[in-house]
Amino acid sequence: MKIPGHPVSEGVAKAELLVSPEPITFYGGVDPLTSKVTEPGHPLYGEVLKDRILVFPHSKGSTVGSYIILRLARRGIAPAGIVTLKPDEVVIVGCVIGGVPSMTGISEEAFNTLRTGDKAELRVDRNYAELLVEEL
């Protein structure tokens, strides 16, 4: 299955998906030293973002979140890629300055078909972005 999107930050990532039905707070909700989700009650609580393509609707909370993505990236523990439903600046800038491949604007329909553990490849260049999900 090929899911088109809008390019955010260029690059290629091949990894398993980690899908959150809920928005994610990077500042205060993700530990920049361990890459773990720490927001109590969050559906991804305790999950590690490293080496996974993170899929979620959009981010929420403090705008310091961009720096959390930068910190994860410079430590080598950022998500392999980030895919969102709606563009938001915290994620866009965090991915651009951190060099994390990212696209946004996938359809709600496509979003609903994605499952944690699906194997996928994210390909983003300046004018083109797609997520290729392996068929079972």
Binding site: G28, S62, R71, D88, E89, V93, G105
Partner: protein, 394 residues
């Protein structure tokens, strides 16, 4: 996307590497937001100042940008840092942390950002209705949009810095009037009296943020007006903690009026407020922390007027504000310390090492502080400001 000749030159590197990098980042955001062009901004506010938050990686990033000759092109202010620049030794902060924090502030100052170190630029900066801004810090963005009627998106700290450098932001999101209209109504009419009497504006804000997500809500039935700046600040900051929106249209307080036709209405009942508050029941132990967002001079004078004439607080009360307000209050400091009340400037309870100087259990009137401190593992009790003061003197 349309770029004018000046913007093309910035992108092509004619003004140096830092401006080219800033323009490239702003463009990426503009493309993703489907902006047709950029818009000139009047003022910028830069978050992501605390060493505790941005770490060595953020520090390196800012020093690299300053070394490349970056410089802001519009008046720009700084969000709070990880410590009080004058009293950091009293916060249990070690010298290494202090020095790293100063390197961040110095790198930003080299980029031309004023070291104001407050999250309430709307109390100090020259901005008015209709101005386009490049602001970060969610409570500041919410106040500028919702109460002043200025126009800013909820920028990330580094994006606001890049926009300040190029003097422009994407003409998208809340910069465009058609995106400022209500997408749902949140109606507090049936609980208006309880919210007012029990001072539940922080709780109401946490609830609005959770209900609205990224949508612009019209909030009806709250007795919020510009005369109660303290309530408005707490309310909007809490919205910013749990929600992604940068604008809340508040009936009676927001300057913009748009019809709310054809959108859903959510009626808030007391159970919803109660359930929100129950997340922050904490314990009755611990220090009192007030000042998220930073307290204004009027708010601190009001707090001082509520302290009992005689006696000392049985637990420490920490107040957080701007350097400017701190200096205006300097004559009161000895008296306040006698009462076990301590005022810190340049920082706040969320970004300073609170556990070192106050412990892991705290009481606050701020829904935003409660949300972020709880996520950091603190036990937090959320109460009204009056109740917090009473708890300290019993």
């Amino acid at each position: 996307m349309y770029l004018d000749p000046e913007e093309e030159k910035m992108l092509d590197g004619e003004y140096g590497e830092a401006i080219a990098m800033a323009m490239k980042t702003v463009l990426r955001v503009a493309e993703a937001l489907k902006a047709e062009r950029l818009v000139r901004v009047k003022n910028a506010h830069i978050s992501g100042i605390s060493y505790k938050n941005i770490g060595d990686e953020g520090l390196q990033f800012l020093e690299e940008l300053a070394a490349k000759g970056g410089r802001v092109s519009v008046p720009s202010s700084m969000n709070p840092a990880g410590l009080d620049l004058a009293q950091w030794r009293n916060m249990g902060v070690d010298k290494g942390y202090f020095e790293k924090q100063m390197r961040i502030i110095n790198a930003l100052a080299a980029l031309g950002v004023k070291p104001t170190l407050t999250c309430t630029p709307y109390l100090y900066e020259d901005i008015s209705y209709g101005d386009h801004l490049a602001w970060s810090e969610s409570n500041a963005v919410l106040y500028a949009n919702s109460i002043i009627g200025a126009r800013s998106n909820r920028d990330g700290g580094p994006l606001a810095l890049f926009e300040a450098i190029v003097g422009r932001a994407p003409l998208a999101g809340l910069h465009v009037e058609s995106n400022r209209r209500p997408e749902l109504v949140i109606d507090f009419t049936s609980v208006s009296k309880e919210v007012e009497e029990q001072n539940m504006y922080s709780v109401a804000g946490l609830l609005v943020g959770a209900l609205t997500g990224n949508r612009v809500p019209l909030v009806r039935g709250l007795k919020l007006s510009k005369e109660r700046l303290d309530y408005i600040k707490l309310f909007l900051a809490a919205v910013g903690a749990t929600g992604g929106t940068g604008l809340v249209l508040i009936e009676g307080a927001s300057p913009e009026n748009y019809p709310a036709s054809g959108v859903d209405t959510i009626e808030v009942d007391f159970k919803m407020l109660r359930e929100t508050l129950d997340n922050y029941s904490g314990t009755d132990e611990g220090a009192i922390v007030l000042g998220c967002p930073h307290l204004s001079l009027d708010e601190i004078m009001d707090i001082i007027s509520r302290l009992p004439e005689n006696g000392t607080a049985t637990r420490k009360i920490f107040l957080y504000t701007s350097r400017e307000v701190y200096e205006a209050l300097s004559a009161y400091m000895p008296k306040l310390r006698e009462k076990n009340v301590y005022v810190f400037a340049d920082t706040c309870m969320v970004v300073s090492p609170l556990n070192i100087y106050a412990g892991k259990e705290v009481i606050t009137d701020s829904g935003k502080a409660a949300f972020y401190l709880k996520a950091q593992g603190y036990k937090v009790k959320l109460v009204s400001r009056q109740k917090a003061i009473e708890m300290a003197f019993t």
